[in-house]
Symmetry: C2
Subunit: 398 residues, 2 copies
């Protein structure tokens, strides 16, 4: 059992920094850098949006071409999406400038941006920002870096886990930013998971795919949506272990650590969704297929009527029935059971005699589960989401 | 050119009433009845949600079986959805009680409900409500009936048009309720369009299908979504004209009147969407196909980030690009132009030198157009929608 801690302690060979480069009018931190003292094997997943930020296109090409990286430079405030060739030049320059400051090859740096779409990066601020980051790199700079990538996040998101690989103590540490919460809205999601374990490249890629599927793809900030979504797993081998792959001693602990850190980052994004006051785990089971369960769970998790009913502590299970009914999941109304935590609100599509007050007490909690059993098969899926308050609208009107 | 007026004047042979039966705690009007003095040919469309109110199932069967009706009794406050066999009994009883009070056959009445899902109709209030409605039926009761079907609507929705069919003066009048605005949220939409023209049954059905497609299906209250959505066109022939069908004198004017009334009701629903402060016409053109255009326009119209940016008078065209990019429409980022009214905000996926202030002035208007030209083909589609304010969330938290 690998323990996941809410700390930014970096693995060996990794340094990090954050700074306020002036991209945000508020003066808040808006840049971060992560650097490994040696090449790190990298696996990455990116948005599937047809409109993609310059940084996404650049990083995807570099990860595919080299499979290795020395680090990442990140800015928030400007997304460098819908910026055309000039944007691609800016992204390339930003990575190159960072590489130069830290003395690595220009193509060894990755680069991420998040923020407003359609405006050019303010390179006049980014260049000095990079210089400050390069000077500020520290082995204990993880927390600062986690702050530097925040946008509407109310708190930094960072988790770490220690495990043993063939007698070598290794660490996995992830930093992430979430924000715009609900799937049809997507704010950019960025996640950087570092380890000092040595890991075989293909095993790393396979694991990262599974870990992303079970974490960032399970929250209703849909990883598919924003122009800038990117998630990286980088392994620099500084721990000196025998390279990990499936079957090698320590692999299982490594897998658990990576999945645990990714899951913790992802659910923390849902907890800290824009304007969120409650964290809700939505499960659809008994569906005809896994795809049906997924479609049903996402329809519930993304329904504004459902999300606002949670915010209002209003056990309106009919809105859940409605969302299931218009989802792509096959539903037979007279078979559906709906639960708030373990309390059965509807059975066979009809209200139970469970007192509304008891149901409301569940919805008044900061965290609760919503489960719908379709009683049509064995398909099951869970999505992690949050409620929707007026604050969500307020944030996005700006 | 048929003139559409915002009035509830009923066609010949039609009477209507509204009343407060006490279903709403507020004491507001919550029931309505429409009655024809003779059988009316009826065409109807219903929700495609898999979860359907008892009233929807009952009306669908009656419309299919008889193709005629004498009228409709409606309540707001309780949806009679997810109420099982007992709900079907209530719906049947409600129609039968109404039929009895006005002296028509039990199966000659249609019945609609809207409101909270999963609770039984309060028949103890509905029965006396029906009696009051039956007593209150008046040739000038249209306005009262339009009020009786309102839920979170801020104003009654009713439009009327007069036209000539072979020398006979005919009228088309529609009453509707909208409310929960955005497609992923759907509040129930009910629409009742009456005419005194005589119309051949199949021609009526064909026309209603086209009229619904061009009106209620073009607003992002998706007619497909709620458990209770229903729209009726009822023709009683009291005008004494030769029955209308395609090719008969007066058909074109009739078609124009029906489409005009339906379109006015539909766009009024978007204008009066929950918490809406702005009415927005979203057009996607130059798409590879009509289906692509439709998918793109709906993605833009339903994006909470886009809708909140409109509310905030914030010309963030990047959010429009993003929504197009994750829609099912084929998009090539470097070909997309985005306009607010006639002002070009983005050309070839890049910002233009149009001053942001000029764009903001468009978004400050109560009504404006958003157009995206994908430059990939000839597909075009328009969706009518509204912005999303904090008020939307406030309404739905209750």
């Amino acid at each position: 059992m690998v323990k996941i801690e809410a700390k930014a302690t970096l693995p060996k060979g990794w340094r990090a920094a954050g700074t306020a480069a002036g991209l945000k009018a508020s003066g808040a931190a808006d840049m971060a850098m992560l650097l490994s003292d040696r090449p790190a094997t990298v696996a990455a997943t990116f948005t599937t949006n047809q409109v993609q930020a310059a940084t996404v296109r650049l990083d995807r090409a570099r990860v595919e071409k080299f499979g290795q990286t020395r680090g990442v430079v990140v800015n928030s405030g400007q997304a460098n999406a819908c910026t055309g060739k000039a944007g691609m030049r800016d992204a390339t320059d930003m990575a190159a400038w960072a590489a130069k400051q830290v003395g690595v090859g220009a193509e060894e740096m990755l680069v991420c941006s998040t923020g407003r779409i359609g405006v050019r990066l303010d390179m006049g601020k980014i260049r000095p920002g990079i210089e400050a980051l390069a000077k500020g790199l520290r082995a204990d700079g993880g927390e600062e870096a986690a702050r530097g990538i925040m946008t509407t996040d109310t708190r930094p998101k960072r988790f770490t886990a220690v495990f043993d690989a063939g007698g070598k103590r290794c660490r996995v540490t992830g930093l992430a930013k979430g924000a715009g919460m609900i799937e049809p809205c997507m704010g950019t999601m960025l996640a950087f998971v570092m380890t000092d374990a040595a890991v075989e490249a293909r095993a790393l890629r396979r694991l990262w795919k599974r870990a992303v599927e079970g974490s960032f793809n399970r929250i209703s900030v849909d990883g598919d949506r924003s122009t800038n979504d990117s998630a990286f797993l980088m392994a620099n081998g500084a721990a000196g272990n025998e390279p990990l792959r499936e079957g090698v001693a320590g692999w299982e602990a490594f897998e658990e650590a990576v999945k645990g850190v990714a899951f913790s980052l992802a659910t923390e994004m849902a907890r800290d969704g824009e304007g969120a006051s409650k964290f809700v785990t939505v499960t659809v089971k008994g569906a005809k297929s896994a795809a049906d369960a997924e479609a049903g769970a996402r329809a519930v998790a993304n329904s504004m009527l459902v999300k606002t009913s949670w915010a209002g502590t209003y056990p309106n299970w009919g809105r859940i029935m409605d969302a299931l009914g218009y989802s792509k999941a096959r539903v037979r109304e007279d078979k559906v059971d709906v639960f708030y935590d373990d309390l059965c609100a509807a059975k066979g599509g009809l209200r139970t005699d469970m007192p509304e007050k008891a149901l409301s007490r569940v919805l008044a909690k900061k965290e609760f589960r919503v489960t719908a059993d379709l009683h049509l098969g064995k398909g099951e899926a869970t999505v992690y989401t949050c409620d929707c308050t007026e604050e969500y609208v307020r944030i996005n009107m700006d």
